[in-house]
């Protein structure tokens, strides 16, 4: 094998029932590089990773590792680990109730006797060498998410891995935490570890990576050095079409004109919940798209959860179209024509084991009542309709939703709420962890719905996405609404300075 290559995958094929998931994919990883693996949902990134780590078998192709003659056979994650391939997943797979040291060594010690002192000392050494701010005897759950992620990486590194796979490690971290993680990644690169970095965040790719491999529809598009592939080109390669920029989609649809003296669809005064936000005022007009912005933990989600009655409302008044309403629980909000797509898709959104069809009809079924179930034919018709409307990629409507990709799961949840025909739709981070194509689809859909008269509140961590879709932004800081921006104030600079606060 050439001098600095640690991993070579050649002509990898993987077939699932009905899907040729990988079609002759090549992948090469060199020593001491951070290599981004990019592609839309369903491009085959995860499948490739799972073939590499022995979770899936492969139908054809060879994997070569540095230091081994000929192709290697990887049958299980254990095999992969023994060969020096370690993976850190998006969800932290350590045990929160054990100490850092125990987590570092769990499953790696042999024999019944454990030298705890040595284990703690070793852990302390590793943590220091990687500059991870944690103590060996600290319980894992008392560490921040980023630190937990780093400990997972440290564990992988300590097992003398040559190939480190990071699968969406940053999706639940805030900016500072991401920065810390990147520093660790750079340190490891300097030590000669080859890192495969799977992410959806373009900025992050350009910040830390040396090389990009792009996949689309189970095929390799190409491998590029980072300087030679501008962002727009990367996106166009991922989407497989010339993108005329992720441009100003706002211009494409005309905005809904509610008239001057129209009554707001929803008006809240001094609304406050038990989730620790300060009382806030809020209103939204018919056909308007507005949004809550602010840093992670600033209280964006808590505000909309209060409106929907998802947290216990402890005070304030709510009017819908000028009429006083009481929203104490989600069902009240639903009956008043409010729909809420929650922030955490896995925990609050999908009902994993139920079919796509049942997930789509769920909310409307609850509105309809316990004694009036949809007939199978009706449910099927509705499911078909929305699968087509939102272009949901699923094997069938009987497929459990948990086996869909993240973006398609989100579309199903969106379908669920659209089916209730709401007047007011709240979307909390609808595009998190979703590929670029679906992102644009959802943004376009929001604007289209608004142009038809629906009111939408849109929350996103990505500021430019908010600027593209919203006509009014409510800025949150420290669980308090600190400003409202419209018109010309809707630009990165003003929003940032409002979020930051202090003198402008």
């Amino acid at each position: 094998m050439e001098g600095n290559v640690v991993l070579k995958m050649r002509n990898i094929h993987k077939i699932f029932p009905g899907v040729h998931a990988l079609q002759g994919v090549d992948f090469t990883l060199r020593k001491g590089e951070i290599h981004a693996l990019m592609g839309e949902n369903g491009a085959g990134k995860s499948t490739l990773i799972k073939v590499l780590t022995g979770v899936y078998g492969k139908e054809d192709g060879d994997i070569f590792l540095d230091g081994t003659e000929g192709a290697v056979a990887i049958h299980s994650p254990q095999d992969a680990q023994n060969m020096g391939i370690s993976t850190v997943y998006q969800e932290i797979t350590l045990c929160p109730n054990l100490t850092v040291a125990e987590n570092m060594f769990i499953g790696r010690t042999s024999g019944a006797v454990q030298n705890w002192k040595k284990m703690n000392a070793d852990t302390e050494k590793i943590l220091q060498s990687l500059q991870i701010p944690a103590r060996a005897t600290q319980q894992l759950e008392t560490c921040s998410l980023a630190v937990q992620q780093m400990i997972a990486i440290a564990r992988a590194v300590d097992m003398e891995c040559k190939v480190l796979i990071l699968d969406e490690p940053t999706s639940s971290l805030d900016e500072q935490e991401v920065e810390k993680l990147f520093k660790l990644m750079r340190d490891l690169r300097a030590k000669g570890v080859g890192i495969i970095f799977v992410t959806h965040f373009l900025e992050q790719v350009y910040e830390v990576c040396d090389r990009i491999t792009v996949m689309r529809d189970g095929k390799l598009v190409g491998e590029y050095e980072i300087e030679k592939l501008p962002r727009v080109q990367l996106v166009s390669k991922m989407l497989g079409k010339e993108v005329d920029d992720l441009s100003d989609i706002k211009g494409e649809v005309k905005t809904f004109d509610a008239g001057k003296d129209a009554v707001p669809v929803l008006e809240a005064e001094g609304l406050v919940s038990n989730a620790g936000i300060k009382p806030f005022n809020f209103h939204i007009n018919k056909g308007e798209v507005n949004g809550f912005t602010g840093l992670l933990g600033s209280g964006r989600s808590e505000c909309v959860r209060a409106i929907f009655g998802a947290d216990r409302v402890t005070g304030g008044k709510v009017k819908m179209k000028g009429r006083d309403v009481k929203i104490a629980k989600p069902l009240d909000a639903m009956k008043n024509g409010i729909a809420y797509l929650p922030e955490d898709r896995k925990v609050d959104g999908i009902v994993g084991d139920l079919s796509v069809r049942d997930n789509i009809i769920l909310a409307q079924q609850v509105l309809k009542g316990f004694f009036k179930p949809f007939s199978k034919a009706e449910a099927n018709k509705v499911a078909d309709e929305y699968i087509k409307l939102l272009n949901i990629k699923t094997a069938s409507k009987d497929t459990p939703i948990k086996s869909l990709s993240g973006g398609n799961q989100q579309k199903v949840i969106l379908a669920r709420w659209l089916f209730t025909h709401p007047e007011y739709l709240i979307l909390d981070e609808p595009t998190r962890g979703i590929d670029v194509g679906t992102k644009v689809d959802i943004q376009k859909l929001v604007l289209k719905l608004a142009s038809e008269g629906m009111s939408v509140t849109f929350i996103s961590s990505e500021l430019d996405e908010m600027l593209r879709t919203c006509s009014r932004l409510i800025v949150m800081r420290d669980r308090k609404a600190v400003g409202e921006l419209t018109g010309d104030d809707l630009n990165q600079g003003t929003v940032m300075s409002t979020i930051a606060g202090g003198d402008k």
Binding site: G18, L331, L354
Partner: protein
């Protein structure tokens, strides 16, 4: 492409679908037991029409025995399936609750006398009172589980421990005996009908739950709550209420079983009535391939599971296994059945068959 794909799957997959069906394992177990009996002693299948002591025509034989004695378990499996699905846990107090329900029935029928000449209240009234009491105890369990977030097994441990003493206390610790022959109809035979009444009661319960699952959203709501409580809440459901409802339905099943049990002997034995039946009911749910951690469920599979257990018990009895060593024999078979129906084993088998098929195609 999708069409040809589907066609291929359906043509190659009818057998696979059958195996994948949740009812497959319990039905296969039933057939296996049947084949075993057929080889060992075909008289197992003999059904004879005779006359009982009161001169009524009655059918007898091991098959009738299974259907008759399996009734209680089948009825309980219905409620236990719902509780398991909604709460992700099991109710271990059903045996004790049956003692309470049976005791209530007797108390209402007997009034102040323990051996009344005539019934002091109509049987239907006694049954309805027992229903209310059993459903209240169910609600008690449900509230502990749903609102106080106590693990179902721990929450129902309270009633499991106290239930039989409560049952005895209801009748002042005496053993009432009902002499009215009409009361024995529910656990025995109705004159002129040669099939045991519990069989009809069990069938009625199955029809009722079938209709309820058809005309209401019980299935969808229970499953949604069992799979993802937080998400269900945001979809307007009230997870707590649905869990309590599952326990109340189980309470209703308990009352029905209580009536059958006391009717069988026209009396009650507080410490023996429906002993360990909760474990068999839980086992029925597990044999039906339902996850004991809650979520999706298959009612029919649970019910068939109940009859598998009864069939096993009867078979063992027939081969002269003494009553006190019965559980040990049963355990061996149960281990086998549970292991075979465990999801991991099923997955392993399905990948194995896939591999076999693949290698065949290659060859």
């Amino acid at each position: 492409m999708a069409n040809s794909e589907n066609a291929r799957i359906s043509s190659a997959g009818s057998l696979k679908n059958l195996i994948k069906n949740q009812c497959f394992i319990p039905i296969a177990a039933l057939l296996l037991l049947a084949v075993f009996n057929l080889i060992a002693d075909p008289s197992f299948f003999k059904i004879t029409l005779g006359y009982n002591s009161t001169g009524n025509p009655v059918l007898s034989g091991f098959l009738i025995d299974i259907l008759n004695n399996g009734s209680e378990l089948a009825i309980l499996a219905i409620g236990m399936t719902l509780v398991t699905a909604a709460s992700g846990g099991q109710d271990i107090s059903v045996g004790a609750a049956i003692a309470i329900a049976g005791s209530v029935v007797l108390r209402v029928l007997c009034g102040r006398d323990t051996r009344p000449e005539t019934l002091q209240a109509p049987i239907i009234v006694a049954f309805l009172v027992a229903c209310v009491v059993a459903m209240l105890f169910g609600a008690f369990n449900g509230v502990l589980v749903a609102y106080f977030k106590i693990q179902p097994m721990i929450a129902t441990l309270i009633l499991y421990t106290a239930g039989r003493s409560i049952a005895a206390w209801i009748n002042n610790n005496e053993l009432p005996v009902i002499s009215d022959p009409k009361f024995a109809y529910f656990g025995g035979f109705i004159p002129g009908i040669p099939i045991p009444t519990p069989v009809f009661i069990a069938i009625a319960c199955m029809i009722v739950i079938g209709i309820v699952l058809k005309v209401t959203n019980l299935r969808l709501y229970t499953q949604a709550v069992g799979i993802n409580q937080s998400s269900s809440k945001l979809n307007g459901l009230n997870p707590e209420l649905i869990k309590v409802m599952a326990f109340v339905i189980l309470g209703l099943c308990v009352a029905v079983v209580g009536l059958i049990k006391v009717s069988r002997i026209s009396s009650i034995n507080y410490s023996v009535i429906a002993k360990d039946i909760e474990m068999d009911a839980i086992l029925a749910v597990a044999l039906g391939g339902n996850a004991l951690s809650g979520g999706k469920f298959n009612m029919a599979a649970s019910i068939i599971g109940a009859y598998v257990i009864q069939c096993l018990t009867t078979t063992l009895y027939k081969f002269g296994v003494p009553a006190n060593s019965l559980p040990a024999y049963k355990a061996v078979v149960v281990i086998l059945l549970v292991v075979v129906s465990a999801p991991t084993v099923r997955e392993y088998v399905s990948t194995l068959t896939k591999k076999l098929k693949l290698s065949k195609e290659v060859a």
